[in-house]
C-alpha cells in the first residue's frame, strides 16, 4: 500500500512538474499583462509535435528535440504577442485579447487535426524504456529526465526573476507598468520577452509531455485546462503559488487515477478550482492584485 502511495507520488510529481512548466507561462503573462493567452495550449502541442518530428526526421537525440521545441515555442510566443496582444493593447480592453486567442486556439487546434490526424502518435524517447529500480519502487529514465529538467528550468527562471536586472524589471513592470516606464524601463520590450520566455516554457513542456501523455492535436488543450485551474488555485500572477499548485494538481491527478476513477480527474480538479474561487479567490498564497477579484 505504502509502495503504491509512494510510486503514485513520483508519477504525480512528474506530471505536476510538467503542469508547472505550462502554468508558469500563463502566470508570467498574466502577471505582466493581466491577460490570458488561450493559445498557450497550442504552443504546448506545437512543441510536442516539433520535438516528435525533429527526432524522427533528423534522427535520434531527444535533448536536441527538446531544444527545437523550446525554440519553436519562443518563436510562436513572439508571433502571438506581435500579431494579437500588441495591436489590442492600445485598445485597453479586458476581454478582447482573450476572445482573439480563443480564435487562434480553435484555428491552430483544428489545423493540426487536419495535418496530423486524430490518431495518437507513439512518442518514444531513448529513455522511455530504461527503468531505474530503488528501495520502494521504480522510475523510468524519461520521468527522471522530466523531473530534473523541469526543476532546473524552474529554478533558473526563479533566480532570473529574483536576482537579475531584467528579472527585477519584469517584476517591476508587472507591479506598476507606468512607474516602471518612468524609471526608464521599456514595457513593450519586456512584455515581448515575457511572451518569448512563457512560450519557450510551453514548448519545452510539450516536448516532455509528448512521451508521457497521449500525443494528439488535443494534447495541449487537455493540459491547458488543468493549467488554468493551477494558476487560479495558486493565485494568478503568483510564481510560488503556481509551482505549489502545479505539483498539488499532479499528485491529486495521480491519486485520483489510483484510488478513484481516471474519469473523475477533471471533475476533481475543476471542483477544486471552483471551490478556490468561491472561498479564496486570491489563490493559495495571498496576493496583492485584488482588482480582478
Amino acid at each position: 500500500m505504502l509502495t503504491v502511495v509512494l510510486q503514485q507520488g513520483i508519477n504525480g510529481i512528474v506530471v505536476g512538474s510538467l503542469y508547472v512548466l505550462v502554468a508558469l507561462g500563463l502566470t508570467l503573462i498574466y502577471g505582466i499583462l493581466v491577460q490570458i493567452n488561450f493559445a498557450h495550449a497550442d504552443i504546448v502541442t506545437f512543441g510536442a509535435f516539433a520535438a516528435y518530428f525533429s527526432m524522427h526526421l533528423f534522427g535520434g537525440s531527444y535533448l536536441a528535440a527538446v531544444a527545437v521545441a523550446v525554440v519553436v515555442g519562443a518563436v510562436l510566443g513572439w508571433i502571438t504577442n506581435a500579431l494579437i496582444f500588441a495591436p489590442l493593447r492600445e485598445r485597453g480592453s479586458e476581454l478582447l485579447p482573450l476572445i482573439a486567442t480563443i480564435g487562434v486556439s480553435v484555428t491552430l487546434e483544428n489545423a493540426m487535426l487536419a495535418w496530423f490526424g486524430p490518431i495518437p502518435y507513439a512518442f518514444e524517447t531513448p529513455y522511455s524504456n530504461q527503468v531505474i529500480r530503488f528501495g520502494f519502487g521504480f522510475i523510468t529514465l524519461q520521468n527522471l529526465f522530466i523531473i530534473v529538467v523541469s526543476a532546473l528550468t524552474i529554478g533558473a527562471l526563479y533566480a532570473f526573476l529574483k536576482f537579475t536586472f531584467v528579472g527585477k524589471a519584469l517584476r517591476a513592470v508587472s507591479q506598476d507598468r507606468e512607474t516602471a516606464g518612468l524609471m526608464g524601463i521599456n514595457p513593450n520590450q519586456l512584455i515581448m520577452l515575457t511572451f518569448v520566455i512563457a512560450s519557450a516554457l510551453a514548448g519545452m513542456g510539450g516536448a516532455m509531455l509528448g512521451p508521457v501523455l497521449v500525443l494528439t492535436p488535443f494534447a495541449g488543450t487537455s493540459v491547458i485546462l488543468k493549467a488554468f485551474a493551477i494558476v487560479i488555485i495558486g493565485g494568478f500572477g503568483n510564481v510560488e503559488g503556481t509551482i505549489i499548485a502545479g505539483l498539488l494538481i499532479g499528485l491529486i491527478e495521480s491519486y485520483t487515477t489510483q484510488f478513484l476513477n481516471p474519469g473523475l480527474i477533471d471533475i476533481v480538479v475543476f471542483a477544486l478550482l471552483l471551490l478556490t474561487l468561491a472561498v479564496r479567490p486570491t489563490g493559495l498564497i495571498a496576493e496583492r492584485r485584488e482588482e480582478n477579484v
Binding site: 476581454l95 478582447l96 480563443i102 480553435v106 477533471d266 471542483a271 479567490p281 480582478n292
Partner: protein, 345 residues
C-alpha cells in the same frame, strides 16, 4: 471593456412605432422559408439555424450586454437537453412540463454558477465558466447509469403534437412544423430580450459592463443583475437544448463539449456583440456557410477560428459594425456624386 460597447444603441434609430413592422417581416420570412426549402436536408438546417440563434442571443445577453464572458454556454445547452429528455424517458413526464424543467434547470445552474463566481469578473469568470462546462461534460460522460455515458441516449421519440387553439396541430416529427415552433420561440426570445435591453434593465446591465465600480456607486446591485443576466441567458440555452433533443432524437455528451461554447462565441462576436440582430446574423451565417461550402468539411472550425480572430482585431463590432460602415459610406457617396456631377461643366 469599452471595446465591447460597439455602437449598439443606434439600432434604436428605427422609430419605436415602426419596430413591429420588422417583427412582422421576420415572421413572414419564417413562414415562407420551409416553403422555399422543401427537402428535408435544408429544413433540418433551418431548425439548426433557429436553435443556434437561440444559443447566440442567450450568450450575447450575458456577454454583449452584461459584459460577462461566459464560456459555459455549451453546458447550459446540454443541461436543458439532458434534463428534459431524462424526465421524459425515465419518469414519463409529458414534453412541455419537461421542457419547463429543462429551461429552469439550465437557468438555475447559470444563476448558481454566477452566484458562485459572484466576486469574479473578466478572466476569472471566463475560466470558472469554462471549468463548469468541463465538469458538466465529464459528468454527462461518466455518470453512465443516468446518461448512458458515451453510448448516448438513442431513439428519443418525438413528443406528441402540440395543439394550439385556432391553429393546426404542430407535429414534432414534421420538419416544417418543428421549424415553425423553434423559430417562433426564437422570435419570442428575441422580442423578450429586445424589450429587456431597451428598458432600464438594459441600461443597468450596460452600466455594469462599462464600469462596475461606478455602477455600484450609483446604488446598482451588480451581483443581483449579473445573476439575473446569467439566468436569462442560460435559460434560453436550456430551451435550445430541449428543442435539440426533441428534434435530433439522439443525445451524446460530445454534442455539448466546450468546442460548442467557442462556436457560439464566434457566432456572437462575428455577428456583433452588444447588439441582438448581430448574433442572429452570426448564427445564421456560421450555420449555413459550412453547408453551402460543403467541400470544407472539417475545416469549418478552422474558418470559425480565423474569422473570430480577424473580427476581434479589425472589426470588433462584427457584421453589424461592417454593415453600418457600409451604409454610412453609401450615404456619404450618394450626395457627393450628385455634387460632382453638378460641378462638371
Amino acid at each position: 471593456m469599452s471595446e465591447l460597447a460597439t455602437p449598439a444603441a443606434s439600432v434604436a434609430a428605427v422609430p419605436r412605432r415602426m419596430r413591429w413592422l420588422w417583427y412582422l417581416a421576420a415572421a413572414a420570412v419564417i413562414a415562407v422559408l420551409p416553403l422555399v426549402f422543401t427537402d428535408s436536408y435544408w429544413r433540418t438546417n433551418l431548425i439548426v439555424c433557429a436553435i443556434n440563434v437561440l444559443l447566440a442571443i442567450g450568450l450575447d445577453f450575458i456577454l454583449g450586454y452584461a459584459g460577462q464572458l461566459n464560456l459555459g454556454q455549451s453546458a447550459f445547452y446540454g443541461i436543458g437537453a439532458y434534463v428534459s429528455t431524462l424526465l421524459i424517458i425515465r419518469l414519463g413526464v409529458p414534453f412541455w412540463p419537461a421542457f419547463l424543467c429543462g429551461v429552469a434547470a439550465a437557468g438555475i445552474s447559470g444563476m448558481l454558477l454566477s452566484l458562485f463566481a459572484v466576486r469574479l469578473r473578466g478572466h476569472y469568470l471566463a475560466i470558472a465558466s469554462l471549468g463548469f462546462a468541463v465538469i458538466t461534460y465529464e459528468i454527462l460522460l461518466n455518470w453512465i447509469s443516468l446518461t448512458q455515458g458515451p453510448l448516448g441516449i438513442y431513439a428519443i421519440q418525438p413528443p406528441p403534437p402540440l395543439v394550439l387553439p385556432g391553429l393546426a396541430a404542430i407535429e414534432f416529427g414534421n420538419l416544417a412544423n418543428l421549424f415553425y415552433l423553434v423559430a417562433a420561440f426564437a422570435l419570442l426570445a428575441y422580442w423578450l430580450l429586445d424589450q429587456l435591453v431597451r428598458s432600464p434593465v438594459g441600461e443597468t446591465l450596460t452600466a455594469i459592463r462599462e464600469d462596475e465600480v461606478s455602477a455600484a456607486s450609483l446604488g446598482i446591485n451588480c451581483r443581483a443583475w449579473k445573476v439575473f443576466a446569467f439566468g436569462i441567458g442560460s435559460a434560453i440555452a436550456g430551451a435550445a437544448g430541449c428543442f435539440y433533443a426533441s428534434f435530433i432524437g439522439t443525445l451524446v455528451p460530445d454534442a455539448f463539449f466546450i468546442t460548442g461554447s467557442f462556436t457560439m462565441l464566434a457566432m456572437v462576436v462575428i455577428g456583433g456583440m452588444g447588439t441582438l440582430i448581430g448574433p442572429v446574423a452570426g448564427a445564421i451565417l456560421l450555420t449555413v456557410l459550412p453547408e453551402v461550402l460543403r467541400g470544407i468539411g472539417d475545416a469549418r472550425l478552422i474558418i470559425y477560428g480565423i474569422a473570430l480572430t480577424l473580427v476581434v482585431l479589425f472589426m470588433p463590432g462584427g457584421m453589424v459594425q461592417a454593415a453600418r460602415l457600409m451604409a454610412a459610406r453609401v450615404r456619404r457617396r450618394l450626395p457627393q456624386r450628385g455634387l460632382a456631377a453638378d460641378a462638371r461643366p
